[in-house]
């Protein structure tokens, strides 16, 4: 959030540099069941973000001392491919990735029925193939679909999207330029059935009014993302059913 104001991010007609209106999210596409080894997986594109999520588990928990005798633990690794950003990223986890992995795992804890699998681990891997602002939301959205694809019992599926502020406008789903030169970013993830908040961060500069507006936009968009998630899973089940049927 540099808040540079010499760059026009929203033009006189209220349109953004990629042609979107303030309340419009980028095109989103989700496909479930894209990998063969993982127990569940999903591929997601939103704008220029390209994200893979895979789930293994419930399986034996390593290292052992992390086991919880009352429930499964969720371990998440969010990782950016070296070539996913403008400057090559050195392989291996940095502080940002560690923080994001932690808050995504915590968000997922709310909906996964971990109590059904004591001592187990449910491992969620998120790989950012191409990054263009909003990867933590994209990763969490994809991970939710991968968990469902893995057949892991869940209270609900989690959608996530960011709202923010640039050029003094409250905007939905910032792209890279808006993120770099904008004024605020607010990633949000909710449980759609109850509207509870499971992930929320904010950085930048916002009045209460602006923030409330941003949250409104993000809530609405989360529900739209939720529909895309459900659609992807429906498609997956249908194609699996077709496979089974054609096998018979």
């Amino acid at each position: 959030m540099s808040g540079h104001t010499d760059m026009v991010l929203v033009n006189d007609e209220g349109l953004r540099i990629d042609g979107r209106t303030a309340e419009e999210k980028r095109p989103i596409k989700i496909e479930a069941g894209v990998l063969s080894n993982a127990d569940g997986s999903a591929y997601l594109e939103i704008g220029k973000n390209k994200v893979l999520a895979a789930v293994y588990g419930p399986r034996e928990c390593h290292p052992r001392h992390l086991q919880d005798p009352t429930k499964a633990i969720i371990q998440c690794k969010y990782n950016m491919e070296a070539f996913s950003v403008s400057d090559r990223k050195r392989p291996g986890p940095d502080r940002r990735s560690i923080e994001i992995s932690k808050i995504i795992a915590e968000a997922l804890e709310k909906v996964v029925l971990t109590e059904l699998f004591p001592r187990a681990s449910i491992d969620v891997y998120i790989e950012i193939l191409q990054a263009n602002a909003g990867t933590r939301c994209a990763g969490l959205t994809a991970a939710s679909v991968a968990l469902a694809d893995a057949g892991i019992p869940m209270r609900d599926i989690i959608p996530a999207i960011a709202a923010g502020k640039a050029d003094d406008h409250v905007l939905l789903d910032l792209n890279k330029e808006e993120d770099n030169f904008g004024q605020a970013d607010v990633p949000l993830a909710i449980v759609p059935s109850t509207d509870e908040i499971v992930l929320l961060q904010m950085d930048g500069n916002m009045t209460r009014e602006e923030f409330d507006h941003a949250i409104d936009l993000a809530y609405k968009a989360c529900h739209e993302v939720y529909d895309v998630q459900k659609e992807a899973l429906k498609k997956r089940y249908t194609s699996m059913k077709e496979e089974v049927d054609s096998d018979e």
Binding site: R95, I103, K110, N205, R208
Partner: protein
Amino acid sequence: MSDFIISEIKRDHILKLLCEGKREDGRGTADIRKIETIVGCIESADGSARVKLGKTEIIAGVKIVPGTPFGDSPDVGVLTTGAELIPMAHASFESGPPSETAIELARVVDRGIRESGMIDVSQLCIESGKEVWMCFIDMYALDYDGNLFDAANLAAVCALKNAIIPAEQYGKGKNRPLPVTCTPISITSVKIGNDLILDPNFDEEMISSARMTVTTDDNGNFRAMQKGGKGSITRDDLSLCLDRAVEKGKEIRKIIG
């Protein structure tokens, strides 16, 4: 931390008190603990503060040294924030590289300072593209009784407000205070059952489901937020957190000057 399990009896006791709007240590749900600060306690640092928030204690020190700017911001000083949860502070903390808890802590404090523009980094240029002041903020937890976020934010902010750029030592002109523009204050609440309480102690933190930290600037604008924990908060909870962050932030700014 996983090994630290709070007894059922203690849990029940805390919950029972909360039903009546009370807390173990006599506070109301929206009360924060006593803040004690010792500023400038470390002469080897360019700025320092030792802060107690109840029994939670954190020391922060600032070192300011000349260094190379980043390529994409040749005129701008560099801020770096680190937190160490050293085993001195609690039986659950271990030696070694920073845990994910320590990293989250440092990053949330960093965001409050950075995004509020507390330090005017445009005034930290020595020679454009060549040399800028690099400002290292290092925080060490000495005693942990809950709510590291707000204690760490206070220690870092007090240390920065107190910091002097040691220009003479490097032959770069006169010593001068670090250019501070505002005082970002973070306020952390946790959710226990259906209650939101401010500034949790260790026991309260252990039985809480979600945590919400909100950092405001001198105008009461929002500069950083972080929801943590495995539970959720409602939008009403969020609203309450925002209100309290503004109100308590104002109070604390008065206390620390």
